[in-house]
Subunit: 166 residues, 2 copies
DNA sequence: CCGTGTTAGTTGTAGAGACAACTTTGTCGC
DNA sequence: GCGACAAAGTTGTCTCTACAACTAACACGG
């Protein structure tokens, strides 16, 4: 038997739904205008930039970006066509492909990072109290746990414990 | 000068990013499998079902679903082609179009609602304490305020005050 | 090593959204 | 009541994503 939502649950859910709809659109729009990148493309470049040798295997990159492999494959191909990443066969496993951030990709990322971080602050963090930032980390962590029980996309968990110890 | 994210902000943001990516996909997937609807299509039907006469003008429906008008126009046309809604010219304003939930649309919605609510519980609400549900409403409300300062999509605000009074 | 199954990734195709251009109707000043 | 501007939708095009089918390479039991 389905238990329906009470008033408070409904409010929380409707508002979350609004954020789910509007926030990605807002972030995409800012990055598109200022840098010619989608939010997802930005994320791909950012994750590569933090990897050793600015290089990751497709599967590892898919994990870090919460993406499926087919989606990532298309995106990386397009990024390569634009000269932002290189694709190299992996020496240790001939099935695998390494994606590496190119010099052009690096400078594109460096140029667009401030605007993106500003947008994240403007839309999310600046609207919250420090306490709420901690609560958000807890809540989002709990939801991720449901969405991804096996931890397939676990890169954003820094452990099962609270984001803010104590 | 851009202020970068500290550890706690970064954790919160990365986790929120994961939710933004995975939750819509999970909800879409459930509804597609069980009801042949996208989450957005479900929302359109649900909003119509709560309106007087199960009818809304396109603009009002766009507001309630956080959608742009072009997007809504395409979706409603497809829903009409599938017999789930009717489109009627508005008598009071010849520019306007009224979308009305059909009998078939109503029964489709009724049939798919329990599965959808269960999914919302499973992925989100059941993972949170009652206190966290309140916090989520506050946080999502604050973010929506940034995303939509003029209140264009304000239907999900039940006022500027806290979701949980007191 | 040979067959079976698994893993890594790519590709084809079809559907959904973004954005801009456009049509039609209403509104308002004069 | 005419002309200019705003509002309400629609449509076309292009891009991106999902899903499924596919290829190629590894693993490993016999």
């Amino acid at each position: 038997m389905t238990r329906w939502l009470d008033e408070e649950e409904r409010t929380a859910w409707l508002r979350l739904g609004g954020v789910l709809e509007l926030l990605p659109a807002a972030l995409d729009s800012q990055l598109r205008q200022d840098a010619g990148l989608t939010h997802f493309e930005y994320l791909v470049l950012a994750m590569l930039s933090e990897a050793p040798g600015r290089t990751l295997r497709m599967t590892a990159l898919a994990t870090r970006t919460n993406a499926t492999l087919p989606r990532l494959s298309h995106v990386v191909r397009r990024l390569q066509e634009r000269g932002l990443v290189d694709r190299l066969p992996c020496p240790e496993d001939a099935r695998a492909t390494n994606a590496r951030l190119s010099e052009h990709g690096w400078s594109t990322l460096v140029a667009s990072a401030p605007g993106h971080v500003d947008a994240v602050r403007r839309y999310v963090l600046d609207a919250l109290t420090p306490e709420q930032v901690g609560q958000l980390a807890e809540i989002a962590g709990a939801v991720l746990q449901q969405l991804d029980p096996e931890g397939r996309f676990a890169s954003t968990f820094t452990g099962r414990g609270p984001a803010t110890a104590g």
